[in-house]
Structures are given as structure tokens and as C-alpha cells.
């Protein structure tokens, strides 16, 4: 009897792999290709997903991704609905006041996407026009900073790009890998949109994993994982797969 039970336990632990590894639930607004998005098989995939899975293997945690709308993603973290946010969150001073951040795992700038025939080289050229961005993103903050532009906030970046494509707005500001995905690689948009400029006035931004203030256990695990991924050069492989710079 005793032997049977211990055999069962052994078998179970072999089957489930590292069954004792901590599970970390990451919230993600999976509408941000190529960083994190839902593929045609309705799985959450992307650069950040692969990155966190690699980090999990290195540091011994199992990442689980939960799709959450961007609009309420920070409120959910504060309300303990999940352990962390892995959703291309740029580390900003305002956000640091409300949550903790892991060490950076990616570097971005803000890019301006415009129609192919547009002559706009920067946001300054779009004064008196309408420029869209996703609500409460650093891209939207950048648009709002410029006087004379009518800022338009969308729930999803894809809707802003569609409105630009349809001609209701004259530009969209978002993180450069996302801009490149839509303007250079997307079949529908690449022939009519282009990247106007990488906004120089804005500083370099870093993506971090947002974690509830004070949750040092999760923070340390995630940091350990990111460090290991960088040290082993795994991030280069993931970068090649999704972004291919």
C-alpha cells in the first residue's frame, strides 16, 4: 500500500514536470503584436510570452497568461486578481508609485505611424489634426503633450490603426515594435501605412513586469528569470523569432 502511494506520487511528479514550481499568473492585454497577442488558434503568443516562459524555466516558475483588457489591467493587479502584468508595460515614475517593477526586459521608443502619402515627419507636423493612441499608454501621453493636436484615445491599438487606415485620423503613436508590426509586416496595412518617425523627444522606455507593491517573492523570482535569460543569450533567439532586427 505504502509503496503504491509513493509510486503514484513519483509518477505524478514526473508527469507534471516541476510540479512544485510556483505558478505565476500574468495578466496580458493580448492586442499588442508582436509582443503579446492572440494567434489564429486562440492562444496567447508573442515575444513577451516566450520570454516569460524561458524565464520561468530558468528561475523555476510556471507562467500562466490571463487575457485582461488594458483599461482595467492595473486595477486588477491592485485587487489581487493576478500576480503580475506582462503586457508591454513601460516603466514610468507615475506607475512606480502604484506598483513594483521587475528589471527591464525590453527597450522601446514611441513611433508615429502615418499614411504612406503623408509628409509628416513628426508630431509637430500634425498640429490641428487628430492623432490616435491606445488609452493610458505612453504613446497617448506623448500625443497629449503636443499642443494643437487633437488626441484620440482608443481601447485597443488595432482600432486606432484601423481608423488611421480608414482616414478618420492622421497618425497613431505606439511602441516601435508594434508600429513596425502593423506598418511593415501586416498584410492589410503594410501597403498603405508607414512609420513616419521614431519620436526623438521621448526618452527610451523600458518594459518591465508589473507586480503588486510589496510582493517581493514574485518580484525576486521574475527578476531571477529575466537575469538568467539575458545571461544565457536566450533573449536574442526570442527577438529573432518575433521581431527579427
Amino acid at each position: 500500500m505504502y509503496r503504491a502511494i509513493s509510486l503514484m506520487v513519483l509518477a505524478m511528479s514526473l508527469l507534471t514536470g516541476n510540479a512544485w514550481a510556483k505558478t505565476i499568473v500574468f495578466a496580458t492585454d493580448a492586442t499588442w503584436p508582436p509582443m503579446e497577442f492572440v494567434d489564429e488558434n486562440r492562444r496567447v503568443v508573442g515575444f513577451a510570452v516566450d520570454y516569460m516562459e524561458a524565464a520561468g524555466r530558468e528561475a523555476g516558475f510556471t507562467p500562466v497568461f490571463k487575457v485582461v483588457a488594458w483599461d482595467g489591467i492595473f486595477a486588477g493587479l491592485a485587487a489581487d486578481k493576478y500576480d503580475a502584468i506582462c503586457s508591454s508595460v513601460s516603466i514610468t515614475e507615475e506607475r512606480r508609485k502604484a506598483m513594483d517593477f521587475s528589471i527591464p526586459y525590453f527597450e522601446v521608443r514611441q513611433a508615429l505611424v502615418v499614411n504612406r502619402d503623408s509628409s509628416a515627419d513628426g508630431l509637430e507636423d500634425l498640429k490641428g489634426k487628430r492623432v490616435g493612441a491606445q488609452i493610458a499608454t505612453t504613446g497617448y501621453f506623448a500625443v497629449r503633450k503636443v499642443d494643437g493636436i487633437e488626441p484620440r484615445s482608443y481601447d485597443e491599438i488595432g482600432l486606432a490603426i484601423e481608423d488611421l487606415y480608414n482616414g478618420r485620423i492622421d497618425g497613431v503613436v505606439c511602441d516601435d515594435p508594434v508600429a513596425a508590426q502593423y506598418a511593415l509586416r501586416n498584410k492589410k496595412y503594410r501597403d498603405s501605412l508607414k512609420i513616419g518617425t521614431i519620436i526623438e523627444s521621448g526618452d527610451v522606455e523600458y518594459y518591465g513586469i508589473a507586480i503588486k507593491k510589496g510582493d517581493t517573492e514574485t518580484l525576486n523570482l521574475v527578476n531571477e528569470g529575466i537575469k538568467a535569460v539575458k545571461a544565457k543569450g536566450l533573449d536574442k533567439e526570442i527577438l529573432n523569432k518575433w521581431i527579427g532586427r
Partner: protein, 261 residues
């Protein structure tokens, strides 16, 4: 007979226990006072961050009211014609009006708005405000149509017969005999639909229209002050709808002066 008559005054909570009860404490007064007191408390005594948020709201309130007023006007017109169409003896007109009601009632307003704005963009590029007003009006026009139909049907056939026997044609009968009487029955539910419409304008924020709700969402998502933001937004919506519902019940009272014996 007068005391047995059932009066529908749904838009004013005061009428539920006893019609004509205009005591000091009515549901409307209670909610309005609580909302106003809370609003003033937050703005005057708490100030931060409510005052900061309030300064961002006037544009949003104006957009919400613009969409509401334009949509109420347009949907009443659509509703009148739909209601008449639903009662028409002309088979084609009847079919068109009835199909419109069936189709529009069967599609969620949110989906209709997405459709008008993003899907129809392939054929016609509606500006955001136009899409918002058309979307709200087409949807509520169908509901209003049913209200008009029911209101017109509630008028005794004898009225039509009497008018016809006096030599009025169908058009004159409808517009100078039936509708003026039906309006009393129609107004309360039209008032309710208008209040519902006002609340549903919050859906147009998905079209990137900077209405009251979107202003709040932008503030909340940036400041992480979700409790404070949505508390104030809810109070502002409540104050606006309460004022609108008061207007409707005042109109009802004026029309009530011509109450049939």
C-alpha cells in the same frame, strides 16, 4: 371614475405608492439630495483628486448631452414614422417598419455602433459624432416605434370612427385627433426611453468619442484612482439623469391637466 384610473408615471418614483402623492419625501428628491450632497462633499471638502477630475469633465459632459439631445430628437421622429408604419394598412410599409424593428431589436447596441463605425467604413466614412448619433437613433427609433404604436392603439376606435364620420381623412384623423390624445400615453415611456438613451450614450466611448465616461476612463487609467474616478462619474451621470427625469415628469404633469374624466 377618476380615482380608479391607472396612471403610469414610471419616470417619477414618487408615483408608485399613491398617484398624485407629492409629499416632502419622494424617491426623486431623496436620490437627488443624496447625489448632490455627495457631489458637493467630494468637490468642496475632499477636493483632491475629485476637483482635478472634475476639471476634465465639462467637455465630456457636453459631448454626452449633444449625443443625447440629437439622438432623442431623431429617434422620436424615426419612432413616430415607425409606429405609424407598423399600423399602416399598406402591406409594404407595414413590412418595412416591422422588419426594421425586428432587426434592430435583435442586435446589441454595442455591436450596432461597432458596425456603423468600423464595418461600414468600407463604404461610407461617418465622422464619430455622426456615427454615435445615427447609431443611438436607429436603435432607439425602433424602441420608440413600439411605444408610439402602443400609444396610438390605446385610443378608442370610436375616436377614429367619429373623426371619419365628420369628414376628416385618415391623415387628418391621425394627426389632429388620435396623436394629440395618444401623446399623453406615449410621453411617460418616451421619457423612460430617453433616460435609458442618455445612459447608453456611455457606449459611444468605444468609438473614441470623448464623452463623459471616456474622460473618466482616461483619468482612471493614468492615475490608478479607480474608486475615486468611477464614484464621481456615477454621481455626475445620476445628477444628469435625475434632472432629465424631473423634466419628463413636469411635462407629464402639464399634459395631465387635460386628463380625461
Amino acid at each position: 371614475m377618476a380615482e380608479k384610473q391607472v396612471t403610469i408615471e414610471v419616470s417619477d418614483g414618487a408615483a408608485i405608492p399613491r398617484t398624485g402623492d407629492r409629499g416632502l419625501v419622494s424617491a426623486w428628491r431623496l436620490s437627488f439630495l443624496i447625489a448632490l450632497a455627495l457631489f458637493l462633499y467630494l468637490i468642496v471638502f475632499r477636493q483632491e483628486p475629485y476637483l482635478r477630475l472634475l476639471k476634465l469633465l465639462p467637455d465630456g459632459i457636453i459631448v454626452t448631452l449633444e449625443v443625447t439631445c440629437a439622438s432623442i430628437g431623431l429617434s422620436v421622429v424615426i419612432g413616430l414614422f415607425t409606429g405609424l408604419g407598423r399600423l399602416s394598412r399598406n402591406r409594404l410599409v407595414n413590412l418595412v417598419a416591422s422588419t426594421y424593428v425586428e432587426v434592430v431589436r435583435g442586435i446589441p447596441l454595442l455591436v450596432q455602433l461597432f458596425y456603423l463605425y468600423y464595418a461600414l467604413a468600407r463604404f461610407v466614412l461617418l465622422p464619430d459624432m455622426a456615427a454615435a448619433v445615427i447609431g443611438m437613433s436607429v436603435c432607439y427609433g425602433a424602441y420608440m416605434g413600439e411605444v408610439f404604436r402602443a400609444g396610438i392603439q390605446s385610443i378608442d376606435r370610436g375616436q377614429t370612427e367619429a373623426a371619419m364620420s365628420l369628414g376628416l381623412n385618415r391623415m387628418q384623423t391621425m394627426f389632429s385627433v388620435i396623436l394629440p390624445q395618444a401623446w399623453r400615453t406615449i410621453l411617460p415611456p418616451v421619457g423612460n426611453e430617453s433616460i435609458a438613451l442618455l445612459k447608453d450614450t456611455s457606449l459611444v466611448s468605444i468609438l473614441a468619442v470623448s464623452d463623459l465616461l471616456r474622460r473618466g476612463r482616461e483619468f482612471a487609467a493614468e492615475s490608478f484612482l479607480y474608486f475615486e474616478t468611477y464614484t464621481l462619474i456615477a454621481i455626475v451621470y445620476l445628477l444628469i439623469t435625475l434632472i432629465l427625469s424631473k423634466l419628463v415628469s413636469l411635462m407629464e404633469e402639464r399634459l395631465g391637466q387635460y386628463e380625461r374624466p
